[in-house]
């Protein structure tokens, strides 16, 4: 049914894993979506989340990722701290998908739309809305997008937290048709 969100693959992490890979992207759906909720790293210093496309069955690690971000950070009294961080990454080996503290009671959450992933004639693209709290307990609300500057079929995504392992969280890949 058009507009209906259909689960393709999911996992709930309850013990440390270096990465979570979700596959199953094909021609079945027009758009795919990754939802991440209550995710935390296995160390209080684990706070920078990353993603790679799965190409040919493996995570793509070439210098092909281009992403851009705005991050709205609140300071201690919840005052807006402006565009505290404005990220632009060109030709990176990974896609940055936001910050989120792994301190007790804090977590990382994201809603990532995947476009043109299973298309040999187009660059795989994504946009993201993400919110979390940083290590100071302050809100981060960020949005951004990016693409892989190569035209190949991507069948999934790999998600991980820089320098550490993922300790917990829900990771789901969904698909939906717009007509």
């Amino acid at each position: 049914m058009a507009g209906e969100l259909n689960l393709v693959s999911s996992t709930t992490v309850t013990s440390d894993v270096a990465s979570v890979t979700l596959t199953g992207i094909d021609t079945t759906y027009d758009i795919y979506k990754v939802l991440i909720t209550n995710a935390r790293g296995n160390n209080t210093s684990a706070n920078s989340w990353r993603m790679r496309w799965i190409v040919g069955g493996s995570p793509e690690t070439g210098n092909n990722y281009f992403t851009q971000w705005e991050s709205h950070n609140a300071v201690s009294n919840f005052e807006w701290n402006g565009f505290a961080t404005d990220y632009r990454y060109s030709g990176n080996t990974e896609m940055y998908i936001g910050d989120g503290s792994s301190d007790t009671g804090e977590c990382y959450n994201a809603n990532i739309n995947l476009y043109k992933a299973y298309d040999n004639d187009s660059e795989a693209r994504f946009d993201i809305e993400q919110h979390s709290t940083n290590s100071g307990g302050n809100l981060i609300a960020a949005k951004g997008g990016g693409y892989r500057k190569a035209q190949q079929i991507c069948t999934g995504v790999q998600i991980y937290v820089a320098s550490y392992s993922i300790a917990s969280g829900y990771f789901g890949l969904y698909g939906y048709n717009y007509s």
């Binding site: 270096a18 300071v75 807006w80 402006g82 505290a84 961080t85």
Partner: protein, 100 residues
């Protein structure tokens, strides 16, 4: 300042101590392959190197405070003849030095 290769060597030692490390692929848990361990070491080393080289920028941005707070400091400095804002900025720069 450590070089990328020096950091990679440190990370390799840490990963050896952490083994076995697992991955989740569509909910199935298995240990990383040798190739995946190498990629993990590269990723972690590059991430740590990036923090070493560029972490001071984000640390300064977070410590400066909002532009409203800074304008308020400047207003009261102009009224009272103080140097609160200038001292604050100097302290943030001093606390988060740019790598040589």
């Amino acid at each position: 300042m450590a070089t990328l290769e020096e950091i990679k060597s440190e990370v390799r030692t840490e990963v050896e101590a952490e083994k076995p490390l697992n991955k989740s692929v569509d909910g199935v848990i298995s240990e990383l392959t040798d190739e995946e361990y190498e990629q993990l070491i590269t990723d972690r080393a590059e991430s740590r190197f990036d923090v070493q080289e560029n972490g001071w920028i984000e640390a300064r941005l977070n410590a400066y405070g909002s532009w409203q707070e800074q304008l308020d400091m400047q207003y009261w400095d102009s009224v009272n003849g103080t140097t609160t804002w200038k001292d604050h900025i100097a302290q943030v720069k001093s606390d988060n030095p740019k790598p040589a």
